[in-house]
Symmetry: C2
Subunit: 392 residues, 2 copies
């Protein structure tokens, strides 16, 4: 007989992007579909030195069980950075280390969301959050993302309608590449304070700004409860699976209980190597190299798009991060374009899975961090050809 699964499994689906990535395994395909950092920038030699130091000096403790909250010195490093770079009043005890920032989303769902609770998510929104929260069967309330942040009228309407959790990626959002303006950050914070909304601010890309000025997190404008999630995946390496969340004590205490039940703690060894790497190297200099590289790759992609795409196609021009967002003319379906593109050996992610309301059929996401400049030029050329034959 067929296995009986929990009812919540009816709300969740195999990742569409995973399926896409299987199609793009063909090495002849130039893929802008994934969301991988450029591995050429990983500080491999420095990490090898760090691993050697950790295992020769503190091997026994690095291989042992450790606390659920995470490595104290690593949390201290993160707190120091928030204080010096953003002027935030964050201490090590405000931080919980997570198994990648994806785990923060699972833990947030676990402790905050009952079935049917309204959660505001950007439209389009981050797929990993949609997947993590879906297990707790909330009602997603999509709020349109404009070029400078969420539509404030829609946002207020959602809060008036009872939504008490808002998840967002205000810097170089995945999938759109868009960022909130300073004015919108303040307005969004004020609105959430007024309606007593918990903000879950996910900021994996904030450090990857190659144009314009760094802006303070929405977190810094809140008086009400705010969570700030971060990650080493985009600034150092994702293979560690180390993220974190800054949270007020009442919420953090519950997150710790949920994390302990989920995986006891994040890898002691991975945390120790990352901490040692950070203590012995200049992360800012390393991030500068990433910014410079991604800025160049983004520039090449935008230029190639301007040269190759039909004029009816719109594209965002992000000032940081890893993604461009493409809007095709109304009525076209990017999934149909996908099949044509694969024939021409180029891949992207159709935008629809990022819309909880089933819209967005004419959108798609392009990643520029994981292809070198030549492949970007060739790949965008192929996609331009596909687009021309698709929309004429």
């Amino acid at each position: 007989m067929s296995q009986k699964f929990a009812r919540r499994m009816g709300s969740v689906h195999r990742s569409f992007i995973r399926e896409i990535l299987k199609v793009t395994a063909d090495p002849e395909i130039i893929s802008f579909a994934g969301g991988l950092p450029n591995p050429a920038l990983f500080p491999v030699a420095e990490m090898e030195e760090a691993a050697s130091r950790v295992l020769s000096n503190t091997g026994r403790s690095a291989l042992q069980y450790s606390t659920t909250e995470g490595d104290p010195a690593l949390r201290q490093w993160i707190a120091d950075r928030y204080r010096t770079q953003k002027g935030l009043d964050v201490g090590p005890d405000d931080i919980l280390i997570s198994t990648g920032s994806q785990q923060c989303l699972d833990l947030v769902g676990k402790i905050l969301l009952d079935k049917g609770d309204k959660v505001v998510i950007e439209r389009p929104g981050y797929l990993g959050a949609i997947q993590a929260f879906s297990f707790f069967e909330p009602e997603f309330v999509p709020v349109s993302l404009e070029s400078d942040g969420p539509d404030l009228e829609e946002l207020e309407a959602a809060f008036k309608d009872g939504a008490r959790v808002f998840y967002a990626v205000p810097n170089f959002q995945n999938p759109s590449g868009l960022s909130y303006s300073l004015e919108k950050r303040k307005a969004v914070a004020e609105l959430m304070d007024r309606y007593d909304v918990v903000f879950v601010e996910d900021d994996p890309y904030g450090e990857l700004r190659f144009l314009g000025e760094h802006l303070p997190p929405v977190y810094s404008f809140r008086t009400g409860p705010s969570l700030l999630c971060g990650s080493f995946s985009k600034v150092a390496a994702p293979g560690y699976r180390i993220g974190w969340v800054v949270a007020p004590q009442e919420i953090r205490d519950k997150l710790v209980i949920a994390k302990q039940a989920s995986d006891l703690h994040t890898s002691t060894l991975a945390q120790a190597i990352m901490r040692d790497y950070l203590q012995h190297n200049d992360l800012d200099r390393h991030i500068e190299r990433i910014r410079e590289c991604y800025g160049r790759q983004r520039g090449v992609m935008v230029k190639a798009i301007e040269d190759c795409f039909p004029a009816s196609v719109e594209v965002t021009r992000p000032e940081g991060g890893m993604f461009l967002w493409v809007t095709l003319p109304e009525g076209t379906v990017s999934m149909d374009l996908f099949d044509i593109a694969i024939e021409r050996k180029v891949a992207f992610v159709p935008g629809r899975p990022f819309y909880v309301d089933g819209s967005g059929e004419n959108t798609l996401r392009l990643n520029y961090s994981n292809s070198d400049e030549d492949r970007i030029r060739v790949g965008i050329g192929r996609l331009g050809d596909a687009l021309t034959s698709f929309i004429g």
Copy 2:
């Protein structure tokens, strides 16, 4: 105002053992409370060589994102071991790597348990499973654990009453140290097949047998759905957070979806170092050293108990694993003994949290893996004094 949390948070509690461990941070206290492997046995030098090989030879891929299912060569190694050592028909594709075997319990709860579903758990039962499952609000059905396995009449009654999931640790159980006999393994498997029950067999300690004969897992006697969870924490090192689950395809597919939403994948780097260590070293020889050491420590503890404890106190005599289980005379409360023991600078874990029905007040758990022989003798002497003054 006070934060509103999900209703499920009413079913979960901060770990009692965590609180206990805080009390025992005093270095003068000899603690038998934790559940840590002996760090003197960690293969630190070999792990350092493995880390160096991985980062110098395949650094870029070891630091990148990887698949949710886990490192293919690591899964192959695990499958090969099941085939050669236990004769199980397991291939790499049957295995999902998890962030410690604790994560398997969270994922199992996520995909299988609706609120109010009946789950059978041993009495006493593993606290980590109680905590992980509690987030999904099942009804726990405790079944008494006898010296050779569960009470079969109680087990059948639970199945007749509608329980369709059974979680158990048949080898050197945490907390009791008890193991299932061959006859009980077969009988339990047959009973589950008859009632179409999913078995979640957790086997972190099976390799740590220092007395008697290895017995096949209950899994090997099933025709119905069975999950077999394993871990490198007790045979190599827990700081990696690498466990796994063998599961039939229909269940495994859902576990993969749940894992992706939970943390995308287990640390690529941790998996790569562990895999390289396993490929370049003889794990069996290493496990032999652990067995020899724990067997000696267990012998010293049992001998000291026979010398120091009042005759009215009962103790299990496990043939492997890391724990002894102590039963005080009826009517006594081990939590009261705990306070006396702490005054005498010795600690243990009171047994009650391992009982989902609130019983077990006169029981306690002792760990012998993480103290050397001298400390075991001194600590058990102190505990004997405490017991003598406690129960007279």
